[in-house]
Symmetry: C2
Subunit: 375 residues, 2 copies
Amino acid sequence: MEGQKCLGISKGDLDTPCLVIDEEVLEQNIRVMQAHVKNFGKQLRPHAKTHKCSQIAGRQMAAGCVGICVAKVSEAEVLVEKGFREILITSPLGADSKIQRFLDCVARAPELMGVVDSPAGACRLNEAGEGRSQPINVLVDLDPGMGRTGIPFQEALDLGIHIHRLPSLRLRGVQCYAGHVQHIPSFQEREKTSLDWMHQAADIFHKFRESGLPGEIFTGSGTGTFDIDCRIPELTDLQTGSYTLMDAEYLNIGSSLDPFRFVQFPPALTLLTTVISANHPDFVTVDAGLKALYHHGATPTVIQPPGSSLTYEWWGDEHGRIRTNQGGRKPMVGEVIELAVSHCDPTVNLFDSFHIIRDGILTDIWPIDMRGRCQ
Amino acid sequence: MEGQKCLGISKGDLDTPCLVIDEEVLEQNIRVMQAHVKNFGKQLRPHAKTHKCSQIAGRQMAAGCVGICVAKVSEAEVLVEKGFREILITSPLGADSKIQRFLDCVARAPELMGVVDSPAGACRLNEAGEGRSQPINVLVDLDPGMGRTGIPFQEALDLGIHIHRLPSLRLRGVQCYAGHVQHIPSFQEREKTSLDWMHQAADIFHKFRESGLPGEIFTGSGTGTFDIDCRIPELTDLQTGSYTLMDAEYLNIGSSLDPFRFVQFPPALTLLTTVISANHPDFVTVDAGLKALYHHGATPTVIQPPGSSLTYEWWGDEHGRIRTNQGGRKPMVGEVIELAVSHCDPTVNLFDSFHIIRDGILTDIWPIDMRGRCQ
């Protein structure tokens, strides 16, 4: 579907494979999360790496968010270009060329923040920032036992003291994101594990303040622990991302309300796919494979036709297989199937736009303007 | 890296993650495959779904290919726009909207061919094509026991006769692509399986000719069976795709020259990634995760630094882990690692451009102009 020329057509007439967003569900999810953090006296700093769409980030800011998180500098470049200012890049930078791109963003958006997870990384950023009129905002990235990025807890205070002495940097606080905890299926186990790590991070945050270091910000958490980590008094803001769109991976874990389903945020994002071959009694072939549904996380689940016993299986780069189970009706060639997507973040990154649906009608097309921005 | 402004810089100075192509290896792979099929009296109709790049397709045509294959209509639209005419879309179409897009391509490129795998599909295409001045070129898509697309062998002749009677369609021959055979690790087993299916397809092709049906084209095969299927006398052209770029998935299967390695086509495509965190003794974190290296097929393998014992592991959407094994040197923050990619087709589909390298220097940037074209 090109441009805006198709607005007003029915969802079922969209060319496939394509991503669609139910605008009412998206608005509800944004509203529910915002009310939740407000209820706990927290702020929201949602992660845009999930949706990669500045129009959704704009709606999140309009709902009252304190800022937007991105994973990479190239994503921040898009948001800066669109006029966003309160941006946090949640990964350390690496190469000198990346530090330069980061500083080019800071020149246009001085409020932009980065994270640092080593004394050497702090020194490199400090040197690169010499001669600037304003210091660069940074957080100490804490490692909650995952080892991916972040400094181990026991070395964090020393890093904070080190950064505080560097003239080009302005220490604002800490980040602690426990990515390995978010999808633990059992809510009780997730709760125990997350609280354990986040309490340790809170201790570091206390030590920062006791040592006279700036401790304005303690940012972290994700959709899987949104109603767990808010019980940590020291946490100032949550970095939840997937709650906007949701996916089969999150929907299939337990929550505080249901031991087997994550029910607080219904899926706003789905994928439409069309049957292209139906020469066999028990299955048909659809036009969405690895390149349209990222092969990671839970298997996509059939939402439309509703109540059906149809199941999806990946079947190569270009195709999927829809099995008819329990003697159910077999879809026909040309029929459209709607799926809750597998892992939403990398699946969104496969497409250029979201098709926005309200009451079954296409009302808008939003560019996924941070798609492919992995640098 | 934006636009052409960085041409002339060293490969190691490219911002990461990014895809690079060694132009000499690419040219060699194109040349070797072309010479191979010529040696067997065949033609080459390479699949562009691997590289999704019209500049590579142009080089393939310049080398003597008879046409270019694509998987989807939206890919064909790009090639038609670029002036390509001999295009084969290797998947059946499905929805009416897709048939219309297909016919819009045919209007500009009457040589374009589609495939049909059911009598109903043939009738729909025939009706949609009524009133056109020229008939639509089609092949019968044969199912080599995989069931994904294609008509079972025993029904194929009847479908051919059916199509031959339809006034808007012009039957050209058959397609038989055994996707499930291409990555069988043992060369001998792959050889036996592929020859079995392709001989059966050849029998159908004979029956077409014996029945007075047009039998100009018998197209099929892939990189994994490039030196197997060419022994089928009836096969007119090969649809190999991955041989251009190659990936860890293909490199790790046996070949006619080595029981454990596919040695005929070295990897022209690699991915550069940078160390961003190094707080642990046995591993470092790099900036390429699920969104830069598609999590499918074989694990990416470290090519640079050469001879190292480093191994790559996926570590979430944005990051990877490089393990130092056997006490090898640990890479430093900012250091660039070069990897043979996992499954090349979906990995290429994550990026907007290839960085073309000759003698270690960036000589060009080629848009991956069919990226995201999964419709």
